[in-house]
């Protein structure tokens, strides 16, 4: 190991030291300003890490630490997104008794560390360790609402299923090590198309691990439960940032290493994508609990992303990343709205709680309307471009039937998004909403993100060209 290589690990080191500082500060639990201080560190740590990326970003491609870490533009781009998101989420989270006690911000920083390890890992061992860091902190986050039985149940389910998925993933890794005697993923670049049964099983197991992290169809059951069981503050985090980690995992394992075997895994992804698209959106139709509904809708959106990847070429991967980013922005705005409206005593749980929102909070209702329209994919909003780009890629690749299924399901899905809009605008509320206790920072953040759904929709070229630049240096 060369000491100069450490500069490429600067963001990870910064996050790790931020965690250590926060742990030390938390020990002074009698300090009056501890809440404010932990929010400050939780925001500053990702921001400083983001700033440190500026020095790394210009290096196109670098392999360091004996091939355990690879620095490329896509990984750096994903890291920058994750850091920015994490800082936003920490700022937007309500600071109250529950959130302070449960060391939420600290565990969120750990999850960020795991994602950032995943984004630049090029060794199966490092990938697994990053995955475990992320998974463990997510179990902790889901369980953090100790008073609720639902939360403990969701955390228990998530933990058991997650352990099984990690086990499957490790089994896949061990089979690959047995076959090739290497855990460095750059060694698998030039594999000839080998259809031995062992390799197929190994790749199948690895896909199981990836699909679980995404929360797509056969391994989806933790998603709605953990969204419902956790508080809005936790759901805000687990619905957005880990998805970026999952994309990094998929990219590193399937596209970076087993690209030559793409004929093997693309059909897996296509089937999983279509299944989760149909399942998520159909089941979401009958949901009343709003976080559970958003959980099922997340499964549907993940289906879109996986379908896009399964049409393997550069534009397909670009469009899937674009869809992921737009999905993350939309979900972020929706969950911040729920977080804004809920106070320590009253949290927004069912759709009924949103009744008559237009009368009490007209601006929040308008922004939620933007989110819902964007998730449906109505033209001036950015969500439309996400769907349009994925569908046009599918048509270019002659996957017409897949595109037709996706369009039909999108139309069906419009029902449950519009139902939320109906409740907000056309239903009278029985109980007036409580006066919210949100801060001015939360409000301004929410309105910036919400209006960006419309603004980005008017000028979608910026986002598209930004993503194109990430991939330009790779291919």
């Amino acid at each position: 190991m060369n000491i100069t290589e450490l500069k490429y690990l600067a963001p990870e080191i910064i996050i790790a030291s931020g965690i250590c500082v926060l742990v030390l500060i938390k020990s002074f639990h009698r300090l009056r300003s501890i809440n404010l201080l932990s929010v400050l560190i939780g925001t500053l740590t990702p921001l400083i890490a983001l700033l440190s990326m500026v020095f790394i970003f210009n290096n196109p491609y670098e392999i360091i630490l004996n091939g355990q870490v690879v620095i490329d533009t896509l990984g750096s781009g994903l890291k920058i997104t994750a850091y920015g998101l994490c800082a936003l989420i920490v700022l937007a989270t309500n600071i109250n008794q529950i959130n302070n006690k449960s060391e939420l911000i600290l565990i969120e920083l750990f999850a960020l560390l795991g994602i950032s390890i995943l984004c630049s890992a090029s060794n199966l061992l490092v990938i697994y360790l990053g995955l475990e860091t992320l998974a463990l902190s997510l179990y902790g986050l889901v369980a953090s609402n100790r008073k609720s039985v639902k939360s403990s149940e969701a955390a228990m389910k998530y933990f058991v299923l997650g352990s099984i998925a990690s086990g499957l993933f490790l089994y896949g890794i061990s089979l690959i090590y047995g076959l090739y005697g290497s855990i460095n993923i750059l060694d698998f670049n030039n594999l000839s198309v080998d259809t031995s049964i062992e390799l197929q099983i190994a790749i199948g197991f690895i896909i199981c691990g990836i699909v679980f992290k995404f929360g797509a169809f056969p391994f989806h059951s933790w998603v709605p439960d953990s969204y419902q069981g956790s508080t809005n503050s936790v759901a805000l985090f687990i619905s957005t940032v880990p998805k970026i980690g999952a994309f990094a995992l998929l990219y590193r394992l399937l596209i970076d290493s087993f690209y030559s075997l793409s004929s093997l895994w693309s059909s897996f992804l296509l089937v999983i994508g279509i299944a989760s698209l149909i399942y998520g959106n159909i089941v979401a139709l009958s949901q009343n609990q709003i976080r559970r509904l958003l959980g099922y809708s997340a499964i549907g959106h993940i289906g879109f992303i996986l379908i896009a990847i399964s049409a393997i070429n550069q534009t397909a991967i670009e469009s899937s990343l674009l869809y992921l980013l737009i999905y993350v922005i939309m979900t972020l705005a929706t969950f911040i709205a729920l977080e804004l409206l809920s106070s320590e005593n009253k949290s927004i749980d069912t759709i009924n709680d949103l009744k008559g929102l237009n009368n009490s909070h007209p601006w929040v209702a308008l922004m939620l309307l933007f989110c819902m329209f964007s998730m449906i994919g109505i033209p001036p909003f950015i969500g439309f471009y996400a769907k349009w780009i994925v569908l046009s890629t599918l048509l270019k690749m002659d996957m017409i039937y897949t595109a037709i299924i996706a369009i039909i399901i999108t139309v069906i899905a419009a029902y449950y998004y519009l139902r939320i809009v109906w409740y907000m605008y056309f239903e009278k509320s029985d109980i007036p909403l409580m006066k919210d206790t949100s801060t001015i920072i939360q409000k301004s953040l929410f309105f910036t993100i919400g209006s960006s759904l419309l603004l980005l929709g008017l000028i979608p070229e910026t986002l598209i060209s930004l993503i194109g630049r990430l991939f330009n240096q790779i291919y």
């Binding site: 060391e103 565990i107 463990l136 902790g140 076959l179 005697g181």
Partner: protein
């Protein structure tokens, strides 16, 4: 020759202990025979001259994991009869799964062994080399990055488990350490001269 004798002795003890784990009726006996099987497999590691792995196996599994197991068995007070009645219903399924795994192993190792690209033979390290030292050198040089990540995972585990289980009651009375340390001994103990006979 001596190696073979030791190997077959310990591996037969290992198999007997493993059978004991599932066949004993008393769960405490099962746990103890699991400990025996861990220790005998540690001896097999010793035979491969990887003393670090052997000692770690004994320390972690026997010292920590199995003690936890025994605690759980004692605390739950598992009923013997219940454990017996379940065994008979599960046995055919377990037998089936066991046979499938056996068949898989036979096909992989025996029939398909020629298909593996490279066969890696385990070479015993020269006896002069210190196994633990070499592992330590590797961990702190080549694998420093995964090693540090593993450290952070452990820290995360500690933090999560404490934050999930720590319950502080409202109005709980505790010492304020700083005040305790700051105390002036001359104020604490008052020396009073007493005259004899008075008071």
């Amino acid at each position: 020759m001596l190696n073979e004798i030791i190997f077959y002795t310990f591996s037969s003890i290992l198999i007997c202990a493993a059978l004991g784990v599932i066949l004993f009726r008393n769960p405490v006996y099962s746990a103890v025979s699991l400990i025996l099987s861990f220790i005998t497999s540690a001896f097999l590691w010793f035979l491969l001259e990887s003393e670090f792995l052997a000692l770690i196996l004994i320390l972690v599994y026997v010292g920590a994991v199995m003690v936890l197991f025994l605690f759980v068995i004692m605390m739950l007070n598992i009923n013997e009869q219940k454990a017996n009645s379940k065994f008979n219903t599960i046995a055919p399924i377990a037998l089936l799964i066991g046979l499938v795994i056996l068949a898989e192993m036979i096909t992989l190792i025996w029939m398909k062994s020629t298909q593996f690209k490279e066969t890696i033979t385990i070479i015993a390290a020269p006896s002069s080399e210190n196994n633990t030292l070499e592992l330590g050198k590797l961990l702190f040089s080549e694998y420093i990055y995964p090693f540090e990540i593993a450290g952070f995972i452990l820290l995360l585990g500690i933090i999560i488990s404490i934050s999930l289980t720590l319950r502080t009651k409202k109005g709980k009375k505790t010492q304020i350490i700083s005040k305790q340390i700051d105390i002036d001994p001359s104020k604490r103990v008052q020396l009073v001269d007493l005259e004899r006979g008075k008071n």
